[in-house]
């Protein structure tokens, strides 16, 4: 174990009394209170009249959702990596085999069930980061509400609805197979 010696300032008697520092502190907080009361300062945004929507930062992480690509193919192949990485275990996936008559049968695998429990999701973005198929993205939707716990579980349909179509992704499955 390495010890690091920290030099603490030596306090004089006046400082040790604590009361002057306390009064100083009270003055500062009072100053803030007065300036807020006079309307000079205000950090609060008055939702829902004022919203972030217009100036949402580029990197904002909202609800995770599944996307389809230009060909209308569902990109998720149910590799379950997002389910594995998700820290609060919000994702549940049941994979299935794509039937041979399907146009994309060569992809072989897709999710039969894909659910994200938005009560659990912490918007960490790890699912997007880990996805090897560019299938899941965090969108800018942040007002995720529901009246029951079931409402808050986004199923596959809902996830594709939020996600929509995303273009310009790598299309490795389009190669001749």
């Amino acid at each position: 174990m390495a010890y690091i010696k920290i030099k603490r300032p030596r306090l004089g008697l006046f400082e040790k009394l604590y009361l002057p520092a306390l009064i100083k502190g009270l003055r500062i907080t009072l100053g803030h209170a007065i300036s807020t009361l006079r309307g000079k300062k205000r950090e609060t945004m008055q939702y829902p009249e004022e919203k972030w929507d217009d100036n949402m930062p580029e990197h904002y992480r909202g609800a995770p959702a599944l996307v389809t690509d230009e060909q209308g193919r569902e990109r998720c192949v149910a590799c379950q990596l997002c389910e594995f990485i998700c820290p609060p275990r919000a994702i549940t996936i049941l994979p299935e085999e794509i039937p041979t008559e399907d146009k994309w049968a060569k992809v072989e695998k897709r999710p039969r069930k894909f659910e994200i429990d938005m009560i659990r999701c912490i918007y960490c973005g790890l699912c997007e980061e880990v996805c090897p198929e560019q299938a899941i993205f965090l969108r800018k939707d942040y007002a995720i509400t529901g009246l029951t716990r079931e409402d808050m579980v986004h199923d596959k349909e809902k996830l594709y609805e939020i996600g929509g179509v995303r273009t310009g992704l790598v299309n490795k499955w389009n190669e001749l197979k």
Binding site: L19, L22, G25, L26, I28, T29, L30, H32, A33, S35, T36, L37, K41, R42, E43, T44, Q46
Partner: protein, 384 residues
Amino acid sequence: MDLFTFLSSSVMVLVVFTIVLTLVPISVYLERRVSAVIQDRLGPNRVGLPLTLFGAKKDFHLFGLFQPAADGIKLFLKEDHTPAHVNKFYFILAPALVMVPALLSAAVIPFGSTMDMPFFEGRQVQLAVANVDIGPLLIFAIASLTVYGIVIAGWASNSRYPFLGGVRSSAQMISYEICLGLSIIPVLLYFGDLNLGRIADQQSRDGWLLLPIAFGGDGPVVDWRTLLLLPTLLIAFIIFTVSLFAETNRAPFDLPECETELVSGYHTEYSSMKFALFFMGEYAAMVVGSALIVTLFFGGWALPFGLDNLIRDPATGAFPWWASLMHMGVFLTKVIGFIVFFIWVRWTVPRFRYDQLMKLGWVVFFELALANILLAAILIAIFG
């Protein structure tokens, strides 16, 4: 006891109960608004009269004054979850043990002057539930029961964080009870009385304890004897106030429930109204504490500078009913002022470390309070 006394006492109980229970949501509201403005925010400003629900065009926001009501309703409707691993009996008992002492100790606080009853000729009523001769002692005795509520809550929850919270709290409250008791002995020596009603009354004649200037009384405008004692009284006031912060588990001494270490301390496992009782109990304790400080050091219901001497009935020492009601208002204003001070301090001072807290109590305040008693006693013995 005749019917009149019975009735007036009953009314008084009701009034005190209402006052304390109204002050609780008001302090909660103040806490949130004051903390907000200190942090450059707005705080709850929406909940008012939801008139649009009844077809009106516009809601009245009323500065969010109804927020505490909404909170209350919410807490009522929350799922009341009792974890399976707790000791049920004590788990349920604990919140009551926190709330009840706070309300009980309000009984001896005089919240207004002695009133000439308007329709009952010649009868006077002291505006306090129990005008007993051991006021402060009773408060201390009852208030120290609160610690049982907290310890039992911590123990019965059968979980680590609450348990730690409970242990911390018992050590803290026992330590500071001593300072609390010792610190006001100079004050009691000065008044030579333990009846809070008479203490307030005396301050209405001679000026507040910490503002000893009185016009229109029998004595001098400024009593040099009081002036001489003023430093000791000031020290008593400081120790008393700080100890009260510790006793009510308020920041900067809120270690029993400090979120960063203990989730939320002794009430971690509580929900719904059981949690609300802890919450209210804490604020009620703050209300009663403020009332006690006001009564002891700031004249209770009395106007400053002995102005009451002008309206007092010289013969009985009682006041006409309108003056008594005004005194009630004065008292409430002072108490609310003190509550705001409590809140202000909370949002200014960071939390103490536990060892610092114990050191402050046992090494600084305990000795200081003892020395202060000695000093006051000598001064009173020589000049009194």
